[in-house]
Symmetry: C2
């Protein structure tokens, strides 16, 4: 199983995990790590290392971060050469739900590539659905 660690500013990581567990009914092996808004970088690196090593069952770990260029993401990226990780930045809830469904069947690289596409495809505007519905029902003719 590929491990999953959510790493984000403040309590955001824990709330993403909380909502994920509510939606998936607690399925999956996912942990969250909160990097404080006023961050001590050396300490944060140690926290990330610890979380990754705890999550790694031998098939590596996906880290989901909130924002490329943000402190949590930068700290994780600085550990790329030391740890068996891939990082997906700009996480949304669809990515996490899909990650849980893939973690037992995919290797890390395949899973990460799928999640990037899935996360992108699952940012929707409600008006797009409305337009599609109208087009299908012929209301625009």
């Amino acid at each position: 199983m590929v491990g999953i660690v959510i790493c984000a500013h403040g309590n955001l990581a824990h709330e993403l995990l909380h909502t994920l567990k509510f939606i998936t009914g607690g399925e999956g092996s996912v942990t969250a790590i909160a990097l404080d808004h006023n961050i001590d970088i050396a300490r944060a690196r140690e926290d990330v290392k610890e979380a990754v090593l705890a999550a790694d069952e031998g098939n590596k770990v996906l880290i989901a971060t909130d924002l490329y260029g943000g402190a949590p993401s930068n700290i994780c990226m600085s550990l790329q050469d030391e740890l068996p990780i891939e990082i997906i930045a700009g996480v949304n809830l669809p990515i996490l739900i899909k990650a849980v469904s893939l973690q037992t069947t995919c290797d890390l690289e395949t899973m990460a590539a799928k999640l990037k596409e899935y996360g992108r495809e699952n940012i929707h505007l409600a008006s797009d659905f409305l337009k599609r519905k109208n087009d299908e029902s012929g209301n625009n003719h």
Copy 2:
């Protein structure tokens, strides 16, 4: 100014707002509405209506929801005909940061279309940057 309301499961909406405010230094006019995990739909619809009407300064309101198909998103979508809203589902932090920078300069429809693209473009894999860096430095030759 276009209003912005974050609408998500449980405390996720408030934590997204909290992190957004930390990153933007409190800029922008954004509110958050938590729809409880054990949701009373009639009550939730009233809460959303109230939040939208409070956020609307006359230029309509963007609602950012956590997950297309989730209860918060479904409730907001059921109000599309009644309220001056556009809904973007599958929100991530990049979308919210960009939304704050656009809310004073764009109309709602333009803003929503830009945000969908921006949110999609800002889901990254760290390994993509590493590959690009290696390609640029000629390490692959």
